[in-house]
Symmetry: C2
Subunit: 279 residues, 2 copies
């Protein structure tokens, strides 16, 4: 573990660390925001998963999340979006390989050696966080786009691990859209049955978890109609009687300007659930 950035921010500290990941077989970076309350006691953690092409930097520089994390006493942990390095398989396209892990455990060569982000987010990273920082065991998860997909899938499959789940502009049914089909074919192979465990809409329809969650979607998002298909998760929730809050916002696009405008609500949503879980 090596610290590579440390900045005072809203009374707490925004840090960036690097460590050798045993699961991913490469050095990994993550960002951690330590709210002022973490000086006094262990605090709950909100994990944030970013989208295609992103790193741990996007949410910490562009979203303004630290203000709300400081208000509610929540630690924010934002991992890089994939394994990286010269020895890690990659692809020239922006939507496959480094920066495009889709937060799954790859089964196909050459990806399976490093692309085990599902287990990294679920197991290795939280162990690191509770060992080295003032974090308690309570955690929630959110993310954007590909990271919104990751947050929904991790949350739906592990309801005892994540107290609450939310997403901005998530890829809700990757099996049904271009981005997901390309990535899943490469990482998981042609067997579409294997894809279902990484498809939020499929998981909901399988009855995996009935917990409510929060989704925000911009109606001027250029990926809304073809890649995100938010209506699919709304329909699945209705069918399965899940009380999800799925909000549509006229004029908003896919950028961090959208996220910055609504992230206060997400942090408050998670804070309320994280607080409730210890009452």
């Amino acid at each position: 573990m090596q610290q590579i950035e440390k900045h005072a921010c809203f009374g707490g500290w925004q840090e960036v660390w690097t460590h050798e990941s045993h699961l991913l077989n490469c050095p990994m970076r993550f960002a951690v925001y330590l709210p002022p309350q973490a000086k006094e006691r262990k605090v709950p953690v909100l994990y944030w998963l970013s989208g295609l092409t992103c790193t741990e930097q996007n949410v910490i520089t562009k979203s303004g999340i630290q203000r709300y994390a400081a208000e509610h006493g929540i630690m924010i942990v934002a991992p890089d979006t994939s394994p990286r390095g010269e020895s890690v398989a990659d692809d020239a396209a922006y939507d496959l390989g480094q920066g495009a892990s889709f937060y799954l455990n790859a089964t196909q060569s050459p990806w399976c050696n490093h692309y085990q982000m599902y287990d990294y987010i679920l197991h290795e990273l939280p162990r690191l966080i509770t060992t080295h920082f003032a974090a308690n065991e309570r955690k929630s998860i959110s993310g954007h786009s590909m990271g919104g997909h990751g947050a929904l899938v991790l949350g739906l499959r592990n309801p005892n691990d994540y107290v609450s789940v939310s997403a901005f502009s998530p890829i809700v049914s990757p099996s049904q859209v271009g981005w997901g089909q390309k990535a899943f074919t490469a990482y998981l192979g042609d067997d579409r049955a294997a894809w279902q465990q990484y498809d939020a809409v499929a998981l909901i329809l399988q009855g995996h978890d009935k917990k409510a969650f929060l989704v925000d979607q911009g109606l001027d998002d250029p990926f809304y109609a073809e890649q995100l298909c938010t209506q699919n998760i709304e329909n699945a929730c209705q069918q399965m009687h899940i009380d999800a809050q799925i909000r549509y916002h006229a004029g908003y696009d896919h950028s961090y300007y959208f996220i910055a405008s609504w992230i206060e609500d997400h942090v408050a949503y998670h804070a309320k659930q994280l607080q409730r879980s210890i009452e």
Copy 2:
């Protein structure tokens, strides 16, 4: 005038435009945040000047200023930090030439053809803003580092143009420090008398304006001791009986994490003065 970005943000619009500057003899970019109130009426404007190496992007992506601008109904205008382009004189160093205008009117060759940022910020840009956007004539100015210097100098020399002035981590006496001496020698020549009109501390000691202003400075800023020398402006204000608020913040550095943590206070400070000016 050509729009190159437009994003919904906190109920308003974050836009980026390019135009042909007559004063600077090159295309220039600026960012403008239109708060929701600008749909109904003309609003006052806060100009933001960024620091060395920056563009119009830094404050709009990293500071979170839009939230507070939307709350108070203030337009934010953030120009690029210098003229740019292949025909514009430049230097390999980060602290001279493109990205390092120091917001002055250059008198020396080869800089004087394009580097007229003082007049651009004071005259050309505000005319453009009031002509093309829902802006009234009331304006204030703020900035960071080299841009904090620019805001102080423009504000002190033009008290009837700017209702209020603030700065983060400003270069308060460029004549006395390495960054300023290098830039002023190149842009203004060796005559140190010509430098005084672009030195905030010198302007205060000359009695230019007695108006209060707000400065925030991080005590862990690596440039604090050698380049910023905040104590010099505090001393000058005491000597001249100017009621400036100069605040020091333990732990904070020179980054936008510092700015994001305190910009709410700056927007509120300007909002109060901009409001008072029409009562």
